[in-house]
């Protein structure tokens, strides 16, 4: 167990953390702002990957442009979803759970009907299918891209929520919808915007996962569970999700390095269960009253 291997494991931990985080970002925004438990999150991730595939395969858009384009496409889908269905269900959390689950089934089967159930393929520039080697430390270029995109998104979200007028409105609605409304904030519009934003973030995650993984109608399923874990352990706030993902990513990498991958997952899920036993509200629970 030399220094280089340990360092590699730590670097990889950051990368795994960024994957967990970017999968959870959209969910955090939607759950944190609107209180909707969005079961369709995995399907939205999948739609992000298929949007990129579609743009690349049929129109020939370069991969790097597919990422923001997927954001826009999936955000629009999220917007339609919110206007058409979710907005009628805000006061009924159990119904949103069921409705979004139904939506995810419709989306997955719909994609299967249109594109078939055989896996699709996302091409990336040659430079992304190599690695960066610094003698003792190694990391693949694409993992660096994922880390960079995740960091950029977190920064952008932080600015959006804490430095803009829109952010103040969102936080006001989060704390008390009625009171915010009485101050002239259009809470319905805020919900709509945050839902679209969260969906768009899932789209970005999808277009990145399509390269690391496989593009299939069911590809979102494996990410949605870990995304939910991060949101719950983080307490539904942006900072909470960032820190929870950071810890779990590093823990998974280090445990997988010491023992093996299966055991690492076992330990992580165990630790999260124990953590939630003693802190059911998650890392950073919201101070204000909500709903």
């Amino acid at each position: 167990m030399d220094f280089g291997s340990v360092l590699n494991a730590l670097i990889l931990g950051v990368s795994i953390a960024s994957i967990w985080l970017i999968a959870a970002l959209g969910l955090t925004i939607i759950y944190g702002a609107a209180g909707v438990i969005n079961m369709a999150h995995g399907a939205l991730i999948m739609l992000g990957a298929y949007s990129s595939y579609m743009l690349q395969h049929y129109i020939g858009v370069p991969y790097l442009l597919c990422i923001p384009a997927s954001f826009v496409i999936v955000a629009i889908i999220g917007l339609v979803l919110e206007r058409g269905l979710i907005q009628y269900l805000y006061d009924r959390p159990l119904d949103t759970l069921l409705a979004t689950y139904g939506v995810s089934l419709v989306l997955v089967q719909g994609v299967r009907l249109i594109f078939g159930s055989d896996p699709k393929y996302l091409a990336v520039p040659e430079i992304f299918s190599s690695n960066i080697s610094l003698g003792f430390a190694n990391i693949s270029t694409f993992r660096v891209v994922v880390i960079a995109v995740t960091a950029l998104l977190v920064l952008a979200l932080w600015i959006l929520f804490y430095k803009t007028r829109f952010g103040i409105q969102v936080r006001a609605v989060m704390q008390n919808k009625e009171m915010a409304a009485s101050f002239g904030i259009n809470s319905s519009r805020i919900y709509m915007m945050t839902f679209a934003l969260g969906a768009g973030l899932a789209g970005v995650a999808g277009s990145l996962f399509g390269v690391l993984n496989i593009v299939l109608p069911t590809m979102g399923d494996s990410y949605v569970v870990q995304a939910f874990l991060m949101v719950v352990a983080g307490g539904g706030t942006l900072a909470g999700t960032v820190i929870a993902s950071g810890f779990t990513g590093e823990l998974q990498s280090v445990f997988a390095f010491i023992t093996n991958d299966t055991f690492a997952r076992f330990v992580i899920f165990l630790l999260i269960v124990v953590f939630l036993r003693f802190r059911p509200q998650g890392l950073f629970a919201k101070g204000g009253v909500r709903r």
């Binding site: 299967r112 159930s117 055989d118 896996p119 299918s129 993984n213 496989i214 494996s222 990498s253």
Partner: protein
Amino acid sequence: MKITRRKLLTTTLAASAAVGMPHVWIPGSRDAWGATLKKGEPLKVGVLFSLTGALAVPEEDSTLVLQYAFDEINKAGGIGGVPVEPVIVDAKSDFSVYSEKTKELILREKVIALFACYTSASRKAILPTIMQRDHLLYYPTCYEGAECTQNAICTGPIANQHSKDLIPYMVENFGKRVFFVGSNYVWPKESNKNAKIWLEQVGGELVGEEYIPLGSSEFGPVLNKIRDAKPNFIFSTVVGASDVAFHKQFKQEGFKVDQMPIASLTTGEIETRAMGAEFGAGHFLSAPYVQTLDNPTNHKFVDGFLKSKYGKNGVTHYNMEETYLSAYVFKAGFEKAAAAVGFENVTPRAIRDHSGGVRIGDDISPEGEVWIDENNFNTWLKPKIAQCQGDGTFKVLKSADTHVAPDPFSIYPESGVCTKDGLKAPDGKIRKGVI
């Protein structure tokens, strides 16, 4: 009507007895429930694969190729003069659905045989039902062996055939140090046990062994370990979507295929297409069949299938070819049984008992002649080693000189030998239905 306490109790009791002990109500003899064949009526067979869910990618292909095979058989006059009618059911990638639908196919649809399953997990889920009804399962892909039922016929390679040539070939060409990576379930673990024996025989060295949860797409930690262990090649039994992620990340992490190739039992044409040819090129595969096999039967199979209405996914791969063969093994077994006992007396049991030694010649079998073992009812075949080319097709580098015998208990000699009537232990006792 007034419901009295007594009435309620007796009704509930009777109802729960009916639900709890169904065997009381279901006749045990096969005469009442089994398939009844009439000359002139189509021959019903069950086709039970997942068309939706996580297993849909390979299993949809299995369904399509079986439909193609039965169409071909029907066009050529059917079996014993009657057409075959496949009853296609979606198992939804859910193991409980597999066993429910198996019962439905046997009891309600009264099929004469079932073609089902792609994974060992689903096979083990339906075998108890198949055995209870003394029915017949065609399991049309590779598996680990270590089973001895009297109700299954397998047309794919089992663990002792699959890696027999691959390991010595890789050791000879790349070096003695090998790293095993597999998905975490029964088939990879059993396959690796076999691979270790072949490795020992050629003096190879196992420098690491890792298992990844089924469906996982995070190979960072494993690739880091491989980097530290510095093997000469990687032996992979990773399946499904994970396999695609593994090959992609292998290249993305800077591994070079010419210095450390992956020798896989699973990465065929369909996986290569999903990952993109540049991630598959240079790696090795051991399978009895690849699409580019150069013989007239295979050209006919590939052209015919891809042009038919079932060829929409654009490839033929080893799993499909093995599934295609199973239809012809069924045809041959049925005809043999019909000749022996008469068409109307053919039962699943009779087909199975007459399938031992059935040969599928190279005029039908795209991979070349194969035959069914008379004792364990797996298939004698020639495993081939192929390398993935830059365009995603496979080039055969080496084919076994002679057919390799299937031996389901090769690494468990203490359990005994699989015979026609059951697993024969070293002390001479015979156990039936070992799964």
